[in-house]
């Protein structure tokens, strides 16, 4: 580059830049391989087919071999001083174990299966291969140790693919009582995936010139990739459900004035400008389009009931724990109990509701039992988040209020609670998002019916009535089994295809149910996260 005609020192600088480019290219190659492996795993590219005129497996093999050779060449070049790096005396035990793991798998597999020597000698092979890799990583200087075992691993796998030892038709039948085989369709992408990770790690270290800076680079590449993968996974997941669910959701939907059903808002009869039968109908024989309205209404009532139970209880408990109780054994017991409740499996809550609530509310599954069960699940979350919010209110606020001579409760009511409100609200919204999607507890306590007619849409407010016998108040709607979206989805899955012939396209119906559920739950999350940002920004500004 610029320094070619200048002093010798800068010539070396230029050399380093070129070798840097080689290492950076190796990192890029790893990224390409990673992407190809993921695509092959999801069958976006076919292993039997070809990419740009080259057979896929051959291409993967070639790229892997090239990457492996590049990595080894870089390490060896650095060892003999052709490349200026800054290596440590040893690559370290972590890198040693990292390199040993794939070699153990390969050594064991080759000795016991390919050579056919059986599992006992296979273990010896695994130990020998892994031990060698470990030793070669840990004992020599870092530039060799962190490239040679991994580079030769990549080259070996690459050559196996390249020479067709493992081709697209390769199958390894495991001789197990329950038949299973490992096929090329799984092995080739998976091996490529892990090789790409190792290759990327080794070449990122090389790019950083080994030593502390090299390890920093290597680790950052993996950590960033991990974070990126999680976000990509989330995005793919949501996008997939949306793509699959939208046709079913919009089945028969109409937009425009006068198309929707009549409804009464604040005493005025209005005709909605949209008609989406999937969310406005139940299931009936003569419906043009079937829908899940009863399940949606069931979910809404379920959430309302759970919130009415859990929020006052939880906030009250948090007030007592933070404001009244002195920290001691009692608060500790409560905390352990709350955290224990928080991690209790949801199905255990379901069992509890089944044993405790159902005999007490009319001996059958009921909306009320479901509400209370979910309320119990929500409670620990409300306690935990409310406590966090109240603890983060500065003590100066309390002292200032107390200095005015007001009582403790007045301080709590007019100083602590308002200041903690944002945190509490956010926590409650996020908690509601969580319980709205819970299936297991309501499975045992509340839910019934796979295809619920629209006429069975639960009407809680309209069903209150007074009776002459105790308990004097009755609400049949609360004591009936009803449906909710998560349960509806479960019932649709477990009912199979035959039972769902009356909804037309059963698959579209299921995906649309999943989409509606996802929309409802994620909108709680969106609101919760947005609330948090709103309050946080307001706090920063003032």
């Amino acid at each position: 580059m610029a320094g070619a005609t200048q002093t010798g020192g800068e010539l070396i600088e230029e050399e380093t830049t070129e070798t840097d480019a080689v290492a950076a290219g190796a990192v890029g190659l790893s990224a390409v391989l990673f992407a190809l492996a993921v695509a092959a795993l999801f069958e976006r590219i076919s292993l039997t087919g070809a990419i740009a005129g080259v057979r896929t497996v051959t291409l993967l093999g070639g790229l892997l071999t090239a990457l492996g050779v590049a990595v080894v060449a870089f390490g060896v070049g650095s060892r003999f001083g052709y490349v200026r790096t800054d290596p440590d005396p040893s690559a370290g035990l972590v890198a040693g174990f990292g390199a040993a793991v794939p070699w153990v798998v390969i050594g064991g597999g080759v000795v016991s299966e390919t050579l056919g020597l059986g599992p006992t000698i296979g273990v010896i092979g695994a130990v020998v291969a892994g031990g060698t890799a470990f030793a070669v990583t840990v004992l020599p200087r870092e530039d060799v140790g962190s490239t040679l075992p991994l580079g030769s691993l990549l080259a070996l796998i690459g050559l196996v693919f390249l020479t067709g030892v493992i081709g697209p038709e390769w199958v390894w039948e495991l001789d197990w009582a329950q038949q299973a085989s490992i096929t090329a369709g799984f092995l080739v992408p998976t091996a490529t995936l892990f090789s790409a990770l190792y290759g990327g790690w080794a070449s990122a270290k090389a790019y950083g010139g080994f030593g502390a800076r090299g390890r920093h680079m290597g680790a950052y590449v993996l950590v960033y990739l991990n974070a990126l993968s999680i976000i990509a996974f989330l995005f793919v997941l949501v996008a997939y459900v949306v793509v699959q669910g939208v046709p079913g959701l919009l089945n028969g939907a109409e937009f425009g004035f006068g198309t929707g059903p009549q409804t009464t808002i604040l005493g005025v009869s209005v005709t909605l400008p949209v008609s989406v039968p999937f969310v406005m109908n139940g299931v009936a024989l003569f419906n043009d389009f079937q829908g899940v309205l009863p399940a949606i209404v069931g979910t809404i009532w379920l959430v309302i009931g759970a919130v009415l139970l859990a929020v006052p209880l939880g906030v009250g408990a948090a007030v007592f724990l933070t404001e009244y109780a002195e920290r001691g054994r009692f608060t500790q017991v409560v905390e352990v109990a709350t955290n224990g409740l928080w991690s209790t499996p949801s199905i255990v809550f379901g069992l509890f509701g089944f044993a405790f609530l159902i005999p007490r509310f009319g001996n059958g599954k009921s909306l009320l039992s479901g509400m209370i069960t979910l309320g119990f699940m929500l409670l620990p979350l409300v306690v935990i988040t409310s406590r966090e919010a109240m603890l983060s209110v500065p003590d100066e606020y309390r002292d200032a209020s107390a200095a005015l001579g007001v009582s403790k409760w007045q301080t709590i009511r007019s100083v602590v609670l308002p200041a903690a409100l944002p945190g509490v609200v956010t926590g409650v919204i996020l908690g509601v998002g969580r319980i709205a999607g819970e299936t297991a507890p309501i499975l045992l306590t509340m839910a019934g019916g796979t295809f619920v007619p629209g006429s069975q849409t639960v009407d809680v407010l309209g069903s209150f009535q007074f009776t002459s016998a105790p308990p004097f108040v009755a609400n049949p709607a609360l004591l009936e089994a009803t449906s909710a979206l998560p349960y509806q989805l479960y019932a649709l899955i477990s009912a199979g295809v035959g039972a769902s012939s009356n909804v037309g396209d059963a698959d579209a119906f299921r995906w649309a149910t999943a989409l509606i559920l996802l929309i409802i739950v994620l909108s709680f999350y969106a609101i919760g996260i947005a609330t948090r940002y709103y309050f946080r920004r307001r706090l920063r500004h003032t």
Partner: protein
């Protein structure tokens, strides 16, 4: 959400005598009328609880009495009423845990009696559920073994932990130490949303997409494998690991990190030699809680597994997925009655006890870590 751990850092200082003194002070200082109202509230609520436990139709009466006395108390003696109500609410959280324990244990007693086995002349109730692998609720001999389900839960949990622990800790490091602020503002809500996706949606995708694919790839008979249930459950446990581990990592005092960085180390060296070792117990608590989540995950397992309560052959055959402790409850509660229903409660008891032990263990670890770091914060 991260469990609160702050007060755990506090030493246990108060003895019971102090509390009695405090109660006496409260009684002395309070207006007798207020005291009477508060007592009526407490007694009537207690009455309502007793009535409810006794499945009485008259429960409504003490409950109305409680509401009425609270209303009176609220308008006349708000201070005391607020104190007592919040105290009752606190007690209710412990009460709920206690009720769960009592009720699920009580329901499981008959089958534990039925499955007694004799060892060296001693009859041990429930032992036969753990020493033979046969679950048969229909044809004699009727046996309710928990072994296949425990095997399934262990397999799924191992695979899930292998997925969730490294990815979760790495993501927590990213969020707490590495990510620039704008990136964190995207990734952190993303992880939260990941926790929010209902388990049945994960299960549905697993059932329609993963299971057929896996059965095709591994040429198995039928669908459902522990391997893929484990991977899905691991992804579901991931957010728990991330958020708890991130809390632990960010609770490491900044001064420790800057001290290391001032010596000229790279960020990564500081992380591996200062931050991670210091936060090690918190991070392991995070992994433990993730394991707890994985053990208790129900719907994805129910939908994706085969629902046959048998062991896989050989035991390490992860390409077949039979049943876990959670899924057998969700699948069989409908047609089960009598002993079989009680056997499902035994599965619930095993789950509850295991996860509670994990939760308490994780809290103890976190408490110790805070105690150790306490002086430096």
């Amino acid at each position: 959400m991260a469990p609160v751990t702050d007060t755990q850092s506090e030493r246990i200082r108060r003895a019971i005598s102090a509390r009695i003194r405090k109660t006496r002070e409260f009684v002395d200082q309070t207006d007798p009328a207020a005291l009477a109202i508060v007592s009526v509230m407490a007694l009537s609520l207690f009455g309502a609880l007793v009535g409810f436990l006794a499945v009485s139709d008259w429960t409504i009466l003490p409950f109305v009495a409680f509401l009425a006395s609270s209303a009176v108390g609220w308008f006349r003696y708000q201070e005391e009423t607020a104190y007592v109500i919040s105290l009752m609410m606190t007690v209710s959280t412990i009460l709920i845990l206690g009720l769960i324990v009592v009720f699920i244990f009580r329901e499981s007693i008959p089958v534990i009696r039925y499955e007694s086995a004799t060892v060296y002349g001693f009859t041990v109730p429930g032992l036969r559920m753990f020493i033979q692998p046969n679950w048969d609720a229909v044809s004699p001999p009727i046996r309710y073994s928990m072994v296949p389900m425990i095997h399934g839960t262990v397999m799924v949990t191992l695979i899930a932990s292998a997925v969730a622990a490294p990815l979760g800790v790495s993501a927590a490091l990213f969020l707490s130490e590495i990510a620039p602020a704008p990136v964190r503002e995207v990734v952190k809500p993303g992880v939260e949303v990941l926790a929010g996706i209902p388990s049945i949606v994960y299960g549905f995708i697993g059932f329609t997409v993963l299971s057929p694919w896996a059965s095709d790839q591994f040429q198995t008979t039928g669908q459902g494998s522990y391997l893929f249930v484990g991977i899905v459950v691991g992804l579901m446990a991931l957010p728990t690991v991330v958020s708890v581990a991130e809390d632990a990592l960010s609770s490491i005092p900044e001064s420790m990190k800057s001290g290391s960085l001032a010596l000229g180390t790279t960020d990564w060296q500081t992380m591996t030699s200062i931050t991670l070792p210091a936060a090690f117990s918190g991070v392991s608590a995070a992994v433990l809680l993730g394991v707890g989540r994985a053990i208790g995950e129900t719907m994805a397992a129910t939908v994706m597994l085969r629902g046959v309560p048998r062991l896989t052959e050989p035991l390490v055959n992860v390409f077949y997925g039979m049943e876990t402790l959670t899924s057998i409850i969700a699948r069989n509660y409908g047609e089960a009655d009598g002993l079989q229903m009680d056997a499902l409660f035994v599965a619930g008891v095993i789950l509850f006890v295991t996860v509670l032990a994990i939760s308490v263990g994780a809290q103890y670890i976190e408490w110790r870590m805070h105690k150790r770091l306490g002086g430096e914060i």
